[in-house]
Symmetry: D2
Subunit: 452 residues, 4 copies
């Protein structure tokens, strides 16, 4: 063996106490219990959870700095135990909507990425669907659009007719179409009303982009998906009602799913708003009182998976007089695993099993990356995060994303990611990201089906 890791091995079936993983040629060559075979390198993580590397189903690496953002984003990912990001297409200045852009992005990954990267594609207003098949051939795992325009050139609103065409083009495939689910008219009107009322703090944020705006966009989208028989996916439901709606459609045989993000599960504006202000501004907003409902949906397996929705905005764009001028989005790759694990544990759930399922196995299956990614299975890529129990107060000054701020600053996590291995190589040693830019690879959609 090239390397042996000793510890509590979190497999899809159970947790192997006093276990080990053997790695050869970047792949999990063996998993065992008790005495381990010899190896060039033996990592003694006894007492720690040896977990599958996280597959973050929603990262925005290039929103701010363009493709160059892949470097710091993936460096942060590795430091957070995230070994694969599924990167959103809204790169600055131009999103990934053609094979040319795909080639450039793959090239950037090969040069810059510290972790593996799977890619969403998109379709620009007026583009037609002809460019989709080449992107699918090129390995994109999903397409994403938005019903709200954040930027006309980078993150545009796609009108209903074009959404319909895109869904029609995907109907015969396993590829989901993800939606950033906010109704543009309602949001613009809500913000204008709040501004007019002189409200400008974080407590006005949820009201200005109300649950109804999120849900009406989602219902319209699910119904379009149903009309075409395509897989329609909501990239961030913020309340249990979203998962209930997806379930309504699934019960009638339609392919409809909903994802949520870790901040919706951990933060509440009533509890954290006063201290965080714009630091907890994300879209759609974190809702007061929504956490218990969302966790209940997770326990009933009605949530497709949990992601970070990591955005690489500098803190500067949060320092605005009004919440409505502040940028939306938060860094999240280094806090994803510890925040989810800690909250699950605090609620009395089986934290390692739930974490492995929601952050690794389920997103890997959703995007067709399983069994290569997402589980500690023999034959899979040796993407591994070692999570060491022990109180760990998060301090974003130590973050690796060049952003150095976080809504979780000061949170007491019940452990930390002490090591990350990417395809068998040490990538994070607990202090430093030690692999080189370009160590990460582009990963393409495989054959796994989410729906039978």
């Amino acid at each position: 063996m090239d390397r042996i890791i000793l510890g509590r091995i979190v497999t899809p079936s159970d947790i192997i106490e006093n276990g080990w993983i053997g790695i050869r040629d970047g792949v999990i060559a063996a998993i065992g219990q008790g005495p381990a075979p010899s190896a060039l390198d033996v990592v003694d993580a006894t007492g720690s959870y040896v977990m599958p590397g996280v597959v973050d189903g929603q990262t925005h690496a290039g929103s701010y700095a363009g493709l160059a953002g892949l470097e710091s984003t993936t460096r942060s990912a590795i430091a957070g135990g995230v070994t694969t990001i599924v990167d959103m297409p809204y790169d600055n200045p131009e999103p990934l909507s053609t094979v040319e852009r795909l080639r450039e992005k793959v090239a950037a990954i090969e040069t810059l990425a510290h972790c593996d990267v799977a890619l969403y594609g998109t379709v620009m207003p007026g583009q037609g669907t002809a460019d989709m098949a080449p992107l699918i051939d090129g390995g994109v795992v999903a397409f994403k659009i938005s019903s709200f325009e954040s930027s006309p050139t980078r993150f545009p609103r796609i009108a209903a007719d074009q959404t319909s065409d895109i869904l029609a083009a995907l109907a015969e495939t396993d590829i989901p179409l993800g939606l950033h689910n906010e109704d543009q008219e309602m949001v613009r009107s809500g913000i204008a009303a709040a501004r007019a009322a002189g409200r400008d703090g974080i407590e006005a944020h949820s009201d200005s982009r109300p649950i109804a705006a999120e849900m009406t966009a989602s219902a319209a989208f699910f119904e379009l998906g149903a009309a075409h028989g395509a897989h329609a996916h909501i990239v961030h439901f913020t309340t249990a009602r979203g998962m209930e709606l997806a379930d309504q459609y699934q019960a009638l045989g339609y392919r409809a799913t909903g994802e949520t993000c870790v901040h919706y599960l951990v933060l509440d504006p009533q509890e954290h708003g006063p201290a965080l202000g714009a630091r907890m501004k994300v879209n759609p907003p974190i809702r007061p009182g929504a956490r218990d409902g969302l966790w209940n949906e997770i326990l009933h397996e009605r949530v497709a998976f949990v992601s970070s929705d990591h955005s690489s905005w500098p803190i500067d764009n949060k320092f605005t007089p009004s919440i409505f001028d502040a940028g939306a989005g938060v860094p999240g790759l280094e806090t994803l695993l510890p925040a989810f694990f800690t909250e699950a544990e605090r609620r009395g759930y089986d934290a390692p099993a739930l974490t492995a399922a929601q952050l690794s196995e389920r997103p890997a299956k959703f995007f067709g990356l399983w069994p290569q990614k997402g589980g500690l299975c023999v034959g899979a890529d040796a993407d591994i995060a070692i999570f060491t129990p022990g109180e760990h107060v998060w301090d974003s000054a130590a973050a690796h994303d060049d952003l150095k701020w976080s809504p979780f600053d000061g949170h007491r996590f019940t452990g930390r990611v002490s090591r990350t291995y990417l395809r068998g190589e040490t990538a994070w040693d607990g202090s430093d990201v030690v692999n080189r830019p370009g160590a990460g690879e582009y990963v393409r959609r495989g054959l796994w089906h989410w729906f039978a």
Copy 2:
């Protein structure tokens, strides 16, 4: 008694053979069987069905000629056995969105109407909701908006944020908000695509405004209604899927309903398109192959009620080179009852009972007009249609709407409306509309609840 009518009395409970209705002071004073009391006037309709006057839940009297259109529209209604129309707000040039407009329309009714008239109100873009309460106090039975703009000033699109506000304003009431349910972007795009493809016949109409456009607008609207707890109503579903969607929402306790129109139940573009062309153009379009599914929904009582969607367009606006330039809408008040009755009978259903339920009792209950309107019940207004069995080939040259055209021209109906009484007075004698303009009255919403 003032008047006695002898015949087969179709009451909400059953059909009284050899029956009679006694009228005094415009009200049904008695219903009986066998020897009838004496009266100033005795109408012998033995062998005919004595039915409740039709309550047409969707009429557009003033779309073309403005309030003046009330005269010919209600004259046609009376000739068709329709004793109450629920008139849509989209009057030319200005819709009913304020108390001032309500007063004008009520005044016009009192001067011009041959039948009774209940009214929908609307809200114009940017209007706010402050005018709604006065309209409710003024007796409107419902509000209507559209998700598609037919005319910026008369029939505008209402944006989602405003729709949300209107639903919020209605949440605590029994008043439904009706929607003309077509997604604007999809329709515009569909038409442009058809035009670009050189398609211009009626067979391109359904594709150009596809079922998906109808359903996505409806789903978004139902979800908004659910978010606010308001009663959301779709004024014309064209396929069974619409009723299924309403049922999905009702099963979870939300107030969601769907109506359909008689042309969706009787016509099919594949069968009738070649002969009718633009004469069968309505929006949303009549769908190929949809009739059986809709009738099945009626039998399972998942359709709120059936209406005419009568529009007073002159035939000239149908004579265009392209279907897309033709006006939408068809006259329908004189054919509503015979067309529905005939089709129900042809399919082997209990036609008189189904007709009384879907065209009179259910719309009356829906709009809070029951028990004053909608049923042959003692104490109710003596609004009566006598339907005399016998083959009757429809010839629109004989129509009373000043339009003189119909998609049903040449259809063989299994009977005809041989008399209509409005609050006890003869209004149609089988040859002529004999009551005077202004004999009709404005009727206000009463207390009946559709949802328990």
Copy 3:
């Protein structure tokens, strides 16, 4: 007219204030409002509810005294506003299981009955199904069996195989098979256990014949009905779970229904047990805390109808040292209407409408007697109960059933039956039953379907 009755007329559609009913030749010839036609007799019941005569869906007239019991039972019915009883087949000493017994019973009705009588038939152990068709031809409205043996010759248990055969024989018909739903083994064991524990009061009764015994017999029966496609009916569910179970089967398209009795809706052993003891012993037992759930099922229209389950046991058989030796069953025909009406009113429901629906219209429809029986409709039999508001304390000493006891003794009803008409003739004048024995007639099943 032969007779006119003035009052508040409770029709299936609404209540006609200041109304009247005209009767000719025993039939409702007319219903009106305001000035009434002249008549030989005018009954001024102004202020009272003029209601459809009650159709009691479950009476045991001959359990004790045999066919002779028809006289006192129907006399009591008439005094209680019950104009049709659906009599159970378990006559003493021999039940109605053959055409010979049917002829005898019809003859007894023609001689003895004060009200109209529809009949259940039954099948005896080992009898085969050959006698069923003649009974159906003879007009029985339903069949009844029991899963518990009260008497081997009069009220025997029917084994599962024979139950299956009977259901198979009914599968192609509209005729329901009713079940007295208690599992024999569980009941016998429960009683033995209670006796062994020295429990002998009414508070031990429900435990000794537990809800589980009622439900397991019912579930087995519904499943058998489903297997054959027959209409399986439970004659007395005592809790909401029963109606939920029926609903489960209906949702999958099976014909399954449940009835309850007025005592389950009004009495509770914890409230009334100490005072009533065996006077409230019925089988299955009245359950503690079950009333609210049952009323909720009524409001959601999941209860087929409400009956009296009147049994003609003398009070002597209640005076036993142990509750387990006491006879089961209570007199109930004179209290059915006032007890149901009073409780509905006390709970704030629309008492006259609910009473007319649950005690008259629904049982008449269920047993195929509608529209001849069960509603104040023109053309229907003039079976009428006048219910006069005003506090009325029930005193069974004044009862007409020769039994002179009741679980409702001392209850304050909010009105009383002040008159009863049977097919137009005065049968009860508020003080005396004035029609002769034999005025009642045998009524046969008609064509009305309960399931579409």
Copy 4:
């Protein structure tokens, strides 16, 4: 390592091609791919499926020969790749209903068994529930009763009251109560009717014990389970309706499950009856036309698991003039795995994954034996079956059960069990059962929950 097995490793997550399993001290010490570690013994099963040993959830080892039957039954199990049997309690002459019997049976296992054995307990008529807790403490995995008496002393019918008591006693536990689900009265009557009609062949068998008899017993039992909140399990549903019924109860939150057996999935009396006759007699009977429906339920995961229902009847008891005198039950341990695998493959399903799930993982989880049993997981017992592809015509003359007959004689299986390991030791070498009697051990229920 003590032993390494090379082959296609079928784990719960996926199939490891070119894989290996390492065994140490009877436990799976490691699983890997590619070059394997050194070991005392290396088994090269390249090309074969290395599967988890089968956990047969329903075996009757002692029905005929008493506890002595454990020897031949478990010998046959081992030859069939079955490493754990869950043995039914109906031993001859006395079933397992007390701790004394448990001790005897455990002693017999320790002396006689070739495979591991988990045990069902039972309760005899009139026994009370006091003996149940000691049996649970003693490790039984479930209790089993019958609603049909096959033998008064060995396989008695348990009456409803006692069934109710047993369910009540289990309500607070995870222990299921299994039911042999046939209504006794219906079966006895059905057989009598068939005999009377002179029918005596296998084609009369299903009719004589009809689906309705199976379902009515099952529905009564599920409802009793629901009444007590206990886990009610049907040990053999023969049609899809059974699984639908279980699903109805689960949808309302009740613990209800259904199992089926391999012969219901592979055989049909219309196809195989003429050749097999009584050789395919099992109770409840194999139904004509039921297979497709049952497989569909398996694909939708509504079947708890699949078992053999192996019975150790000598062929002699099948040679009777009438089917009704023939013994019921078939040998099945050596054909379970190949028959299920072959049929799944023939239908185009993922046979190795489905086999591992339905024959190993799911029964192990159901009986609380997971993760020690049921999956190729590190740390689990090294219970392994090697299934080698290749046509293999079943010849029961070669069977190891001392019975030497089978309903599958002559069937062409698509592979054979070429080796079996029990806790790491070779138990079957492809020709002979090579472990000694007593190598098998008694296994107790663990902590795994079937219901969350």
